[in-house]
Symmetry: C2
Subunit: 149 residues, 2 copies
């Protein structure tokens, strides 16, 4: 039973950490997909950041739920940056495809910071949340400065 | 330890099943949020449905990953149908707010079918996936027919 439980947990973790291998019908779908996932992530992150900055009253339950969704969403955009999705209604810079290693590194760092925020939000400790919010914000900015026009 | 493990699992399940209490800065944000979450859900569901219909080769891993994301996304749009979000760039009918009980019932049924699809996709059995895809599609249509113009 213990072994089974371990396998189930390991399997769930693997599923959760793997980005969906996105295969899009059209490049426009891929562009809309990454923009949609980032918007949903941003909305949830912004809610926690607003509490962290004292702009809205701190609600530990809402902060935890929002951070959970933001961390989940943080995994999704990357599969939608495939070849041929650099043209269209997008602010994506050509460097995303010419310097993929750096882009992937920044994307992974953001996901790591978002996971830390998720963990912090589960504790309900506002100081921990504030620190994690700052780190997430920094990782967003670093990537946007380099790869978003 | 068993009790702790149970509490941890129960706590995780509660977090996952509760929709984020969305508080949006503007009605347009709420409208964009529900459209974005539904688009991400649809893209993942469509990938599994395409395999189910034989339009694309069946890949059990991709089907499982996509169904997992679709089931997660299925929980998110509903918090963004608050009061005052009925006007703007939206196909949402007024009946969503005048017959909220029915709308919520349809929304819950869809989530239930999507959870069944997620479970079916994890087994890798294509016949089970086909049956679940049909039920999800039916639940989408029922709600769209009643509540989307």
């Amino acid at each position: 039973m213990k072994k089974l439980a371990f396998l189930l947990i390991a399997s769930a973790a693997a599923t959760l950490s793997a980005p969906a291998m996105a295969q899009f019908a059209k490049p426009e779908d891929a562009i809309k997909y990454r923009q949609s996932t980032m918007f949903v992530m941003q909305q949830n992150f912004a809610r926690v950041a607003g509490m962290s900055a004292g702009r809205v009253p701190f609600d530990a339950k809402i902060a935890a739920e929002s951070a959970e969704v933001a961390a989940y969403m943080a995994k999704l955009p990357w599969a939608a940056f495939g070849e041929g999705t650099d043209k269209g209604t997008t602010k994506a810079k050509a460097e995303i495809w010419s310097d993929k290693a750096k882009f992937n590194d920044y994307a992974e760092k953001m996901q790591g910071e978002m996971n830390k925020l998720n963990a912090a939000a589960k504790t309900g400790n506002l100081d921990s949340i504030k620190a994690a919010v700052g780190a997430v914000g920094g990782s967003c900015k670093t990537c946007h400065d380099a790869f978003r026009s």
